[in-house]
């Protein structure tokens, strides 16, 4: 079965809390987590809804494998209309919160309305109540977790919360759980903040016991774990270097966006790489990295736990930042580092910790700083306006701007609007490096062509986690494709998008797909969940989820024009490296992709396509 078959509906405006049975008809077509919660969302919410209005809803959701012994089976997602993007948003997080929600007996929580004053939701199995959060408002994520755990007198309580960024309307605020895991992108934390919902605290003692065939499930889970252990990426590279295994690799291939995508290689990439995190510092003889860490159920353990050099300018006299904390992951190291030309590992980790404790997406924050640094370089933003010198490469500027943004101090308020709104305000919308107002992650579309199509067509705005064609174009998983050509990328992107939607709907982590295909996930789902789960039905399910999201976005007002990259990537060729002289072939790939998808040239799913998918 997998599901608990029970959901919570919390009306924050009235304070009413209701229990509903899970719609099992929908579960058969949409599985769980991303797919199923999005189905609920599109059925209940007007696509034109203003993201920060009480009419928007926010769903926290587990998948059928969340809380089971499936490797990485601890994921949960937040589905809403994104504050940053105005598009469908689905942000996925690990840690322990998702499994605990399942253990308490709930598949998902639907939040509606807006609380008249700050509240948090407390869940102890069946005992669910909204509690006053006046004492938590204004507190960081770290403080919030500590206060809740101590007042509940239960260290096993798991918490997700917004930091000051979410309270203050930073448009890329995230929801952070277990200190340093985050539902990070699209401003899902901004939506939570707009509802005066500070946190969700959950303690579950029921467990996930509803497995259809426990014996078969354990055998399937064990076989799949072996696949992860035997794979060089999931068995060796990710545990040792984390996602930071990529820093030097992507830089070498000339796909490392640098200084707001002006360059495609970063001269200091090595200094901020996974390898550098293993090197002993000259100052204290210790390595930056303390250990690797796993989320619930994960047998990969890519997470990084680090300690900042106590003598570094960013934390000197701040002992509260001397302990071990999460980071750096590759995306954050890139966005805070290469994107701004900053090669100071300790500064990046400090800013990363600030992003965690105040609940800000480090990708969007870092990329917005990069845009500000370019505006500064062009003389459009000045020292007077920003309040400090902000040239590319300045670690001091990065640190100061991070301290200003979550709390909305001075120019930090403008950085908090994201690069699209900020660049538009200063008459340079083309300098925002993103799609659908969401900033790019760490791969340049000129050096990895498939990623350009991935970004342009991602339903939640620019994102690498919707179809990680890097796996194929760089690592050769499952087959090697040439990163510099556009041929075949439409099919590749579609295949990755559909498969990823299945993983995101299951409760497992997309990082398993470095080693797993649907053929490794399918036996686990088939043994855990009632109903028929075949390779064919899952592939169709992924495509159904993708088209459902697309229909919502189209109804929200997005068109083919929004499936595009900034002019820089189409007109300014890569200056160095293997992609030298290349621009993105997005205009060639887009129509091919629409055709492969069964959409009209305007990017609208045809009636035949909808019929085939049961939409």
């Amino acid at each position: 079965m997998g599901w608990t078959k029970k959901i919570l509906r919390v009306d924050l405006s009235t304070g009413s809390i209701k229990t509903e049975p899970l719609n099992m008809e929908w579960a058969k077509d949409y599985l769980g987590q991303r797919g199923l919660a999005t189905k609920y969302f599109v059925e209940e919410v007007d696509p034109k809804v203003e993201p920060l209005s009480p009419e928007n809803k926010l769903i926290m959701t587990t998948g059928p494998l969340t809380g089971t012994a499936a490797s990485t089976g601890g994921r949960y997602s937040v589905v809403t209309k994104g504050a940053l993007t105005n598009a469908i948003a689905c942000s996925n997080s690990g840690g322990y919160f998702g499994a605990e929600l399942k253990f308490a007996g709930w598949d998902m929580i639907i939040f509606e309305g807006k609380a008249p004053k700050p509240v948090y939701l407390s869940i102890e199995d069946d005992k669910v109540e909204l509690r006053d959060a006046a004492h938590l408002w204004g507190k960081t994520v770290f403080q919030t977790e500590e206060i809740i755990k101590s007042s509940h007198q239960d260290p096993q309580t798991r918490v997700c919360s917004i930091g000051r960024a979410g309270e203050n309307g930073v448009m890329y605020a995230c929801i952070v759980n277990d200190l340093h895991r985050a539902a990070g992108r699209s401003g899902v934390g901004t939506v939570m903040g707009s509802k005066n919902l500070k946190a969700v605290a959950v303690r579950g003692t029921k467990g996930a016991g509803q497995i259809k065939d426990p014996k078969a499930f354990m055998a399937a889970a064990k076989a799949a774990k072996k696949v992860l252990a035997d794979n060089p990426v999931t068995g060796q590279g990710l545990p040792k270097y984390g996602t930071q295994v990529l820093m030097n690799v992507i830089n070498e291939m000339g796909a490392m966006p640098t200084r707001n995508h002006r360059d495609v290689q970063f001269e200091d990439a090595r200094k901020i790489s996974g390898e550098a995190m293993h090197e002993k510092r000259p100052t204290d003889g210790k390595t930056h990295l303390v250990t690797n860490a796993a989320c619930f159920g994960c047998t990969i353990a890519c997470g990084r736990i680090s300690k900042i050099d106590e003598t570094h300018f960013s934390v000197v006299n701040k002992p509260q930042y001397w302990g071990a904390s999460g980071g750096l992951e590759y995306e954050a190291a890139w966005a805070l580092g290469s994107a701004n030309g900053v090669g100071d590992l300790e500064a990046l980790q400090y800013v990363n910790v600030l992003c965690n404790e105040d609940g800000m997406d480090p990708i969007s924050f870092g990329a917005t700083v990069a845009a500000a640094m370019e505006l500064y370089d062009l003389g459009i933003l000045t020292k007077d306006k920003i309040g400090l010198e902000a040239p590319f490469g300045s670690a001091e500027a990065l640190v100061k701007l991070a301290e200003m943004t979550a709390v909305g101090e001075g120019f930090g308020k403008e950085l908090g609007t994201g690069s699209a709104r900020m660049c538009a305000k200063y008459g340079k919308p083309e300098l925002s490096m993103g799609v659908k107002s969401q900033e790019f992650p760490a791969y340049d579309s000129r050096g990895i062509q498939g990623m350009g199509l991935t970004y342009a067509t991602s339903n939640r705005g620019a994102c690498h986690l919707r179809s990680y064609t890097v796996a194929s174009e760089v690592l050769g998983i499952p087959v090697k494709t040439d990163p510099l050509v556009t041929e075949g990328k439409a099919d590749l992107v579609k295949a990755f998008q559909d498969a990823t939607a299945v993983f995101d709907s299951s409760g497992t982590c997309v990082f398993t797909t470095f080693a797993w295909t649907l053929a490794d996930l399918q036996p686990q789902l088939a043994a855990a969940c009632e109903g028929e789960w075949t390779m064919e039905s899952l592939a169709t399910l992924g495509e159904r989820v993708w088209n459902m999201e697309r229909l919502f976005n189209n109804a929200a007002g997005f068109t083919a024009k929004d499936d595009d990259l900034p002019p820089r990537l189409k007109t300014e060729p890569a200056k160095t490296g293997p992609a030298k002289g290349l621009v993105s072939g997005i205009d060639k790939m887009r129509p091919e992709y629409y055709q492969v998808r069964g959409w009209t040239p305007e990017g609208v799913p045809t009636p035949d396509t909808l019929k085939r998918l049961g939409l």
Partner: protein, 158 residues
């Protein structure tokens, strides 16, 4: 030959596969709150430490039990709680110096690690080798060996 659980916290990533395997083996559900092995997180130090009963040779819990519900499994050396005898008085939980016998409110009795009859599910599920099931008399020798390897046997002339 007797075997015992051997725990190396430095290898623990905090994935909790051991807790799930324990609860599944003993209760048939994935419910870490029912697990007899627990992983504790020390966030500020970046440490995760699995902890469970070490099967004391002379067991305080066994000696303290007024109804002889805790007995030695001759095959494994595990101190096993006999659920049909246990009266839930919790004296063993007070006697145990390490806190590894725990009361279960659902059943009204105590539970502790019984080495799964000689095939501990936690060790089998651990992906990193942080929990292993080894010859009891080998306990500590791997650490000794590691230090031996670091011993400088060719000191340079001063």
């Amino acid at each position: 030959m007797q075997k015992s659980l051997h725990i190396d916290p430095n290898k623990c990533t905090g994935c909790l596969q051991c807790e799930m395997a324990c609860s599944f083996e003993n209760h048939g559900v994935f419910n870490i709150s029912k697990s007899r092995i627990k992983v504790f997180a020390f966030e500020h130090a970046g440490r995760k430490v699995p902890y469970t009963c070490t099967q004391c040779a002379e067991a305080w819990c066994l000696n303290a039990c007024p109804v002889d519900a805790i007995r030695v499994d001759a095959a494994t050396g595990a101190k096993v709680v006999h659920q049909d005898v246990c009266v839930g008085c919790k004296v063993c939980t007070i006697a145990c110096p390490f806190g590894t016998v725990n009361y279960v409110a659902d059943t009204g009795k105590v539970q502790k690690c019984d080495l799964c009859g000689g095939e501990p599910a936690c060790a089998d599920a651990c992906p990193t080798g942080a929990i292993t099931y080894v010859e009891a008399s080998w306990t500590g020798l791997d650490k000794m060996r590691a230090w031996a390897g670091k011993t400088d046997t060719q000191p340079r002339a001063a």
